[in-house]
Each structure stands twice: as C-alpha cells, then as structure tokens.
C-alpha cells in the first residue's frame, strides 16, 4: 500500500505544527509554508499521475479493512481537486509576502489546506465532518485575521451560520448511521439498494439534510447570502483560498449524487426537480448582486455566486458530458476569481482612503499592469472568447440541460455573461480610465503579490492553450466517476465482508 494518498493531508499538518515551534520568527514560518505547499503540490501531482492511469488508490488508515476503518480514496476527481487546492495555495501565499501578516496566519493557512485536501480525499462521511470542521475553524480565524470591525461583524454571521450547518451535518450522520449502519461512502452506496421499506423515509430525510449542508457550503440560494459580505471582508490570501471552499461543497454534492446515489430508487428525486431552479436563481442573484455592489471585492464575491450556481446546475444533471464540462469549468473559475480577489486587494492598497470602492478617484499607481490584468481576468470570468471561460461555458451549454431545461439554462448563462460583462466594463472604466488627476497616488509596490497576480492571470490563457488535454482528462474523470461499481469494488474489495444487520 502506497502512502501517497495521505501526504497532501499530512504535509500541511506537520508544517503547521513545525510553525508553532517557530511562532516568533515570521520569515521562518513563511519559508516552512512555501516548502509545505511545494511539497504538497508535488504529492498532489504524483497523485494525479497515479490516478491518471485509471486506478483508484485506497488508503486504509491503520490497515483496518474498509467498512470498519477509515479510508482515503484517491480517484481522478479527488486527485484533480487536491492539485487545484495546492495550485491556488501557492499564489495565495505569494500574495501574503512583503506585508505583515496577522499572527498565526501561516499555521492556520496550512490547517485550512489540510482540511480542504482531507475533505476531497476521504471516503468516510464522519471523517468528512471532521475535515469540514478543521477547514471551517481555520477559515473562521483567517477571516478575522486583519482585526477590522468589518471582519468581526462578517465573521460572527459566518460562524453562526456554519455552526448551524455543522449541527445539521451531525443530524444527517446520526440518521444515516441509525438506518444504514455504516458511514463509509462506498458501503452506503452499496446498502442504499437494500433499504427496508420502513426506513426509506428516514434515509431520504437524512440525505436531504446532507444535501442542505453541502448547498450551504456551495453557497446556493437560499443559503447564499452569507458569501458576498464574508469573502469581501477577508484579506487577500484568505479570500483566495476561500474560493476553493465553495468548490468543496460542489464536489461533495457531485460525489453524493453520482457515487453514492447513482440511480438507486431509494434516493430518486432528491436533487433533480428543484436543484436546477435554485441554481438558476443563484446565477440571477449573483448577477444582480454584482450590479448592486459598491466595492470591487463585493463584485468579485458575487462572481463566486454566479459560478457556484453554474456548477450546481451541471451537478443536478450529472451525466458524463455534464460532469466533464463541470470539471473543466471548476478550476478555471477558481483560479480566475482568486486572481480577481487579489486584484481588488491591490487596487484597494493603491487608492488609499478610497479603497476598492467603485467611484472615480486619483489614478492607480500601477495602472497599466493592474488594468491589463483586469482585462484578461474579466474576459475570462465573463466567458468572452477567446479565453477558457468561453470554452468552459460552451462545453456547459452543449452538454447540460437537455430537454425542458435548455431554454432556461441558455438564458441564464448567456444573460449572466452579458450582465457581468457590463458590470466589469463599468468597474474598469471607473477604476482605470476616468481619473481625477494625472499624478498617481504612490502605492506600495510589492514583488510577491505582483508575481501571484501574474501566475493567476496566466492561468486562464494557459488553460485555453491546453484545452484539449484538459478536456480529455476531465471526460476520463467523468467516465471514472460514473462507474460507481468500480469505486465500490476498489474500496470494499470485490468480495465485501458479509455482516449481519444489527438487532
């Protein structure tokens, strides 16, 4: 048994512990942080190469056989998402260099990474709950790191909402364990076929609660209102890594719908009739919110909502083509919105008291650089040709929403694209074009954040150039994901241990 699948979780954990030993030496902490992210990224890359051969690596903690012990499962989906997490962590750390970071920023950041990687890799839902709590607790502390009143107010609402989410998660777990007698995802999938008729209602209720929790993490209407204020209040390194947290909810929803539910009659109809409606409403809310925003960071936070709605719509249908398109669009949208969060923070620094408010003001110091970066990111995020956003949306339009949903889906996606183009053009015109004075305010120019911005700006054109291999990879991932028997067999073995039901 290779130890590779646990490394993306273990490396950040060890790094966080080491950092606490060096808590008075911020430079050393930053060094350990970069080392851990690079090492973790290498492990994630190795995981991708392994998963690329089509094998599903199962790591049994403590060597316990599958339904009894906790397992980590590294299939193509998990490997891809872990790689994306570390790919986003590197620019996020770079964005934090050169300025005084809050105390304990670095250890918390590593714990956040460990929680996210664990949530993607785990094959056990109670373990998933634990990783959720790790990533949430780290995110609570990262959010208030800057010590501004805006942050503590946003954090209070965010923490209360997520505590409610955690309570619901535990209720769902208790009901699932009481009815199915297992917490292992593959075993749950297996047992769903033979639920006694008396338990069906309880099982459906349990999964409905679980879906609610994932929708809260993914920020889908009516559980989306927390996101814009929270994300816009966070400091740039935190906001950049928060982008991946909504994707955690979406990927877990996908895993639940495809791997666990499959086409089992017990759970039929838990997602389909209503989820697309909510997804389209989320897209509309994000677009309207972007129009109403008075700060660039809030515009970007609403872009996260639009992309959450888009991805959840694809999850609701979850046939092979839709999953492939969704998995292409997901990394694109994560990288581009992270870039825009960083850009908003740089504009905020450059404009002094005005911050990133969308009003006319003095010239931005590094106007050409920021303006060009904004142009590329905005084209990518609005889905205009020729960048990856356009390709992703094209794939989504082609493959998702056949039948009665087609008209609504096309209208939502194209309408929000048009709306966002207008919003972003207006923002660019206010921030970079109409300026009061020719003398730019002297903002600090730092190498680290600029490098981070460069990496994120290049991401979308690079994804466009590599679209063919990436699309091949995601469609292979979609195929692997759709074959739930292969997943179950990999985790439980081809001859699952027969267990008697509890009395």
């Amino acid at each position: 048994m290779s130890h590779l699948p646990i490394l993306p979780i273990l490396i950040p954990f060890v790094a966080a512990a080491l950092m606490l030993l060096a808590s008075n030496r911020p430079r050393l902490q930053a060094g350990i942080g970069f080392g851990a992210v690079l090492l973790g990224g290498a492990a994630a890359l190795a995981l991708c190469f392994d998963a690329g051969t089509g094998t599903i690596a199962v790591y049994r903690l403590g060597g316990w056989p599958a339904p009894f012990g906790i397992v980590l499962v590294a299939d193509r989906l998990a490997a891809q998402m872990v790689l994306l997490t570390f790919a986003l962590a590197l620019p996020a750390l770079l964005a934090g260099t050169g300025r005084a970071m809050p105390r304990h920023f670095h250890p918390l950041f590593q714990l956040q990474l460990a929680g996210i990687a664990g949530a993607f890799l785990t094959g056990d839902i109670f373990n998933l709950f634990v990783f959720f709590e790790i990533l949430l607790l780290a995110s609570y502390a990262l959010l208030v790191g800057g010590n501004t009143p805006r942050q503590s107010r946003a954090a209070l609402a965010y923490v209360i909402l997520n505590l409610a989410g955690s309570a619901l998660f535990l209720v769902a777990l208790a009901l699932i364990y009481a009815t199915l007698g297992t917490l292992n995802m593959a075993d749950i999938a297996n047992r769903l076929a033979g639920v006694p008729p008396g338990d069906v209602a309880l099982v459906r209720a349990a999964f409905a609660i679980l879906i609610t929790v994932f929708l809260l993490k993914a920020a889908v209407l009516p559980l989306a209102f927390w996101l814009p204020r929270t994300y816009a209040a966070a400091a740039p390194p935190a906001a950049m890594i928060f982008v991946i947290m909504t994707k955690v909810g979406i990927v877990l929803l996908l895993r639940l719908s495809v791997t666990i539910f499959g086409n089992t009659p017990t759970t039929a109809g838990l997602l389909l009739p209503w989820l697309p409606v909510l997804a389209i409403a989320t897209i509309a809310l994000g677009t309207v919110g972007a129009f109403a925003a008075d700060r660039l960071a809030i515009v970007v936070a609403n872009l996260v909502l639009v992309s959450a709605g888009t991805l959840v719509f694809a999850v609701a249908f979850a046939d092979t083509g839709a999953i492939a398109a969704l998995l292409f669009y997901l990394p694109h949208s994560a990288l581009v919105t992270a870039g825009l969060f960083l850009l908003a923070a740089l504009v905020d620094q450059d404009r002094g008291d005005l911050g990133d408010r969308l009003v006319r003001g003095p010239a931005v110091a590094s106007r050409t650089m920021l303006g060009t970066a904004f142009l590329i990111l905005a084209v990518a995020v609005a889905g205009l040709p020729p960048l990856s956003g356009f390709l992703g949306k094209l794939m989504l339009l082609q493959s998702v929403g056949t039948g009665g949903w087609q008209a609504a889906w096309w209208a939502a996606l194209l309408g929000s694209g048009l709306g966002l183009t207008v919003v972003l053009a207006r923002a660019a015109s206010l921030l970079f074009w109409q300026q009061d004075s020719a003398t730019p305010s002297a903002g600090p120019t730092l190498a680290g954040p600029k490098l981070a911005l460069l990496v994120l700006v290049i991401a979308s054109p690079a994804m466009t150039l590599a679209a063919r291999p990436l699309a091949d990879w995601t469609s292979a991932t979609a195929k692997q994901l759709s074959d739930r028997q292969a997943y179950i067999a990999a985790v439980l073995g081809s001859d699952p241990i027969a267990r008697e039901r509890r009395p």
Binding site: S152, A157, A164
Partner: protein, 111 residues
C-alpha cells in the same frame, strides 16, 4: 424509552432554534449549546437504545452495545465545545468593537 428520548431531543432543538433566531449574540450562544446537546443525544442513540450491554467485549456479556456512536459523540462533543468557545470569544470581541451585541449585521454601514 425511544419516545421519551425523541421528545427530549425535539424539545432541545426547539428551544435551541428559538434562541438562535434571537437578535442578541448571548442568546445565540445559549441556543447553540442547546442544539449541540440535542445533536449529541441524537448521535448517541443512533446506536439504538439498549441496557446492560457493555460496549466492550467482556467475558460473560451476552450482547454488546454498538461502540461506534459513543466514539462519534465524543468527537462531536469536543468539536462542538471548541466551536462554541470560539463563538463566545468572537461575540465578546464584536461587543467590544461595536458596543452592542446584536447579531444583525446591517448596522455597520457607517464603519
């Protein structure tokens, strides 16, 4: 017995939800304390109610209780406790910064 436990869990949830929806952060903290009691009891009884059954394999025990929910509830208690402590700290800080402990976050327009 099942009926009694269900009613108890339901009452705790009802009280907790009522308190969480109050506008002051002190009530919200108390509400979450009640909700986490309710959740912990629910997780605990997920292993089914039984009596005189040890969760360990002891010689002479005819039946065994399911030890897993007991382990799960231990984890849930620890995590819930930590989260509540964090919520208390955050509420106190918010009280100190804003001079009021209302949770309603629409009042920060003049920051």
């Amino acid at each position: 017995m099942e009926i009694l436990v269900s009613i108890g869990v339901g009452l705790l949830f009802a009280g907790g939800i009522f308190l969480v929806l109050r506008p002051r952060s002190f009530s919200v903290v108390l509400g979450f304390t009640l909700i986490s009691y309710a959740v912990n009891i629910l997780v605990f009884v997920a292993g089914l109610l039984d009596r005189d059954t040890p969760p360990l394999f002891l010689p002479g025990a005819a039946r065994l209780a399911d030890p897993l929910p007991q382990a799960l509830v231990l984890t849930a208690i620890v995590i819930g406790f930590g989260m509540t402590a964090y919520l208390v700290a955050l509420s106190l800080r918010s009280l100190g910064e804003h001079g009021t402990d209302t949770v309603d976050s629409d009042r920060d327009a003049g920051e």
